[in-house]
């Protein structure tokens, strides 16, 4: 499965400056990718991705920017680095995914997994407010945002019963330090 739907690649779509930028930001040379597919074979989540990890390496090599920024692969990847240790060319594939995700947000590209992005934003929001993550609030805010209060209700109740979810956040004292990070 891929989201080009088998359409031919047009030379005018290739943005090599994008390719160079991603390489510089990620600090890894994906041009050495041999398309051996070890990464995709090892990836525990590749079955849920539209482009395999090696496919994303090819997209950035060719500078197919919009495909790279709008694939769901960049959101499904959790950065477990199973691919990295299997890559014979030692490419930091999750590092490339990090750059693509950030670019997708910066360039207002279509986000194929909006719920995953919502979750990341809630985590960062919590850190900005308290300096640490307050999991109960993250979950509640996330559930409200995605308008899904039903699923995981039992799990939440079990965790509350086992006192795994604190009702109040743990706050750092010098919260201004953290506010400064987010204002920069």
């Amino acid at each position: 499965m891929n989201n080009r739907g088998g359409a031919p690649i047009c030379l005018k779509d290739l943005d090599f400056r994008f390719s160079q930028k991603v390489k510089r930001w990620a600090g890894t040379d994906f041009h050495t990718c041999l398309q051996c597919r070890s990464c995709s074979g090892g990836c525990p989540f590749s079955e849920y991705m539209d482009y395999m990890p090696n496919g994303v390496m090819r997209l950035v090599q060719l500078g197919l920017k919009s495909e790279a920024l709008t694939c769901n692969t960049i959101w499904i990847c959790v950065g477990c680095h199973t691919c990295t240790i299997q890559c014979p060319m030692a490419i930091d594939i999750p590092g490339v995914m990090d750059v693509l995700r950030e670019q997708a947000i910066a360039e207002h590209a279509d986000i194929l997994e909006p719920d995953i992005l919502n979750f990341h934003r809630e985590v960062l929001g919590s850190i900005e407010r308290y300096g640490r993550t307050h999991k109960l609030e993250i979950m509640l805010r996330y559930k409200l945002k995605t308008r899904d209060l039903i699923s995981d209700w039992t799990v939440g109740m079990k965790m509350l019963a086992k006192r795994k979810l604190d009702l109040t956040p743990s706050r750092i004292e010098r919260i201004d330090d953290v506010k400064k990070i987010f204002q920069e």
């Binding site: 600090g27 890894t28 525990p44 989540f45 849920y48 499904i76 959790v78 950065g79 477990c80 680095h81 199973t82 990295t84 240790i85 030692a90 490419i91 930091d92 999750p94 590092g95 990090d98 750059v99 995700r101 950030e102 947000i105 997994e113 719920d115 995953i116 992005l117 919502n118 979750f119 990341h120 934003r121 985590v123 960062l124 850190i127 300096g131 640490r132 993550t133 999991k135 979950m139 996330y142 995605t146 699923s151 995981d152 799990v155 079990k158 965790m159 086992k162 006192r163 795994k164 979810l165 604190d166 743990s170 750092i172 004292e173 330090d177 953290v178 400064k180 990070i181 987010f182 920069e184």
Partner: protein, 286 residues
Amino acid sequence: MPETNSADFSYFPGCSLATTAKESNQSLIECCRKMGINLVELADWNCCGSSSAHSINHQVAFDLACRNLSLAPPGRPLVAACPSCTLRLKHAQQRLRNDEAARSRYRQMWGRPFDPDLSVRHFFGILAGVDMDGLLSTLGRVQINMTYVPYYGCMLNRPFALRALSDHQEVMEKTLAGVGLRPKRWSYGSQCCGTFLTVARPDIVTPKVKAIMQGAAESGADCIVTACAMCHMNLEVRCTLKNPIPIFHFSEILSLAFGTSHHKNWFARHLIDPRPLLKSKGLAAS
């Protein structure tokens, strides 16, 4: 045994150990105390940024890690027990070592120069230097007559730039070998638990966790021992098996081996109750 004369370490608990996995935090402090390792909590530490910061904002991820590094007093190693926190701290440290612009930002943000000599370590890295056999002979060992599968999750995987750093291969097996615990072979020891996808895509994580839990049961092991509190939570929360085997934090098992009596509040916090197993093995009776 350099670590047995009450060595001081700065300790970064991280959000998981400080909240959802308090039992992991308490048992870690306890087993370290037994080993003569004094964990001094890093004053006013902040979240390392977790997966979310580096996923969508590398600058915030870097700054959050840097603030923690800047809080560490000199001359004392900084130790973390969460693989993910450790990786974030080491990642920032690596960038600071190689990039003058990063060092200058650090100085400007935190008002002090970056300390290139600060040693950032995972708890496992310290364990590797501990003479377990000598220690157990001195402290008296509690034999734990159980079989287990070691679950490292993704902590053994590293980006290339950080691969030269300490390798934690088989640390759990080596450490637990002297107390009667026998590891079973299985295929899921380094399988990713799915981490944060558990929130937005439980449909992906649930079958992954099921395979891991089933693999553990099929190995014939009595229990799973985890290296990471996040993995521990995912396995417990997303497990759909009817009678899953219990999952221990590594530090809980190590503390039991050292004969701890401070385990009162640990096992009751597990979603998969390990107390029947412990009772059947004559352990942690109280």
